[in-house]
């Protein structure tokens, strides 16, 4: 995107964007993964130390999440379950595996109502076949 194109996005007339594909991005500054299944506006709700869920303002559905403290979580998961390594392929990890790992590793931390949210997030991530590049974190 050129400087002029970026300025058009910021200052130009609002134009609905239609082409959006689910995406997961690792942000090294926040050591977090943002997962978006839609570009709908959302309200965030922190559910625990690992996950903040994004709820769509129109659909009221889960439209994304923020997975926090990723490097520590991966390291802890690998320490307690070295077999998790097989879910890291070429430095890439499927998000559904991260949600599963959290449910297996910290069942006591996940409150009852949040179990449903985790299962839902895992399903959404599975459906979107969402995976993220974590090579820098997994070495």
């Amino acid at each position: 995107m050129t400087e002029a194109e970026l300025e058009r996005v910021i200052f130009g007339d609002p134009v609905p964007t239609t082409d959006f594909r689910p995406l997961a991005t690792y942000n090294p500054e926040g050591d977090c993964i943002e997962f978006l299944v839609s570009n709908e506006s959302f309200r965030a709700e922190r559910i625990d130390s690992l996950v903040t869920v994004y709820y769509g303002r129109e659909s009221k559905e889960i439209v994304g999440s923020l997975i926090k403290g990723v490097s520590g979580f991966i390291a802890e998961t690998l320490r307690r379950n070295p077999g998790f390594q097989i879910d890291i392929e070429g430095g890439r990890v499927k998000l559904c595996h991260l949600f599963t790992a959290k449910m297996w590793l910290s069942p006591d931390e996940i409150k009852d109502r949040h179990t449903i949210v985790y299962k839902h997030l895992r399903g959404v991530a599975q459906q979107a076949n969402a995976e993220v590049e974590l090579e820098a974190v997994c070495v």
Binding site: T17, F42, R43, A44, E45, R46
Partner: protein, 139 residues
């Protein structure tokens, strides 16, 4: 911010903020490549970063330091911006009732996440569960 200041921000990612403990200002930053990435997927979030985030950083209703599950030096600025944006179209909207805006900054003074969340029903200036989420309130 003037149009010139906005254009400068789009180029260098530098953001002025009220110092978390003193009366003067300090500077945070956003990776310019992150501004570009967001602008490609969501004009509304790009505008939120450009216009809403700076207003909260300059006039926070609260500032917290320390995320117990992350890092004790990380900051969270909380505020009531005067506007919101539709993420798909970039259209300006009134702020959301019963919600507040959070901006997260890491120890390298990099803004890495920002979002709307439900306000605490007891103190609408603060986010829900603020007592357990942060180390110390600075403002």
């Amino acid at each position: 911010m003037s149009d010139g200041a906005v254009k400068q921000f789009l180029r260098d990612g530098r953001l002025q903020a009220l110092h978390p403990t003193e009366g003067d200002r300090c500077t945070f930053h956003v990776d310019p490549s992150e501004i570009q990435r967001i602008a490609k997927i969501s004009p509304g979030r790009a505008r939120e970063l450009t216009f809403v985030v700076p207003s909260v950083l300059l006039k926070p209703t609260a500032v917290f330091r320390g995320l117990p599950d992350r890092d004790e030096k990380w900051l969270c600025y909380v505020g009531f911006p005067d506007r919101a944006y539709d993420y798909r179209s970039g259209q300006q909207l009134p702020p959301y009732d019963g919600e507040i805006f959070l901006v997260y900054i890491n120890a390298r003074l990099c803004v890495y996440n920002w979002r709307w969340e439900t306000a605490d029903p007891i103190d609408v200036n603060l986010p829900c569960e603020h007592k357990s989420r942060y180390g110390k309130r600075l403002r």
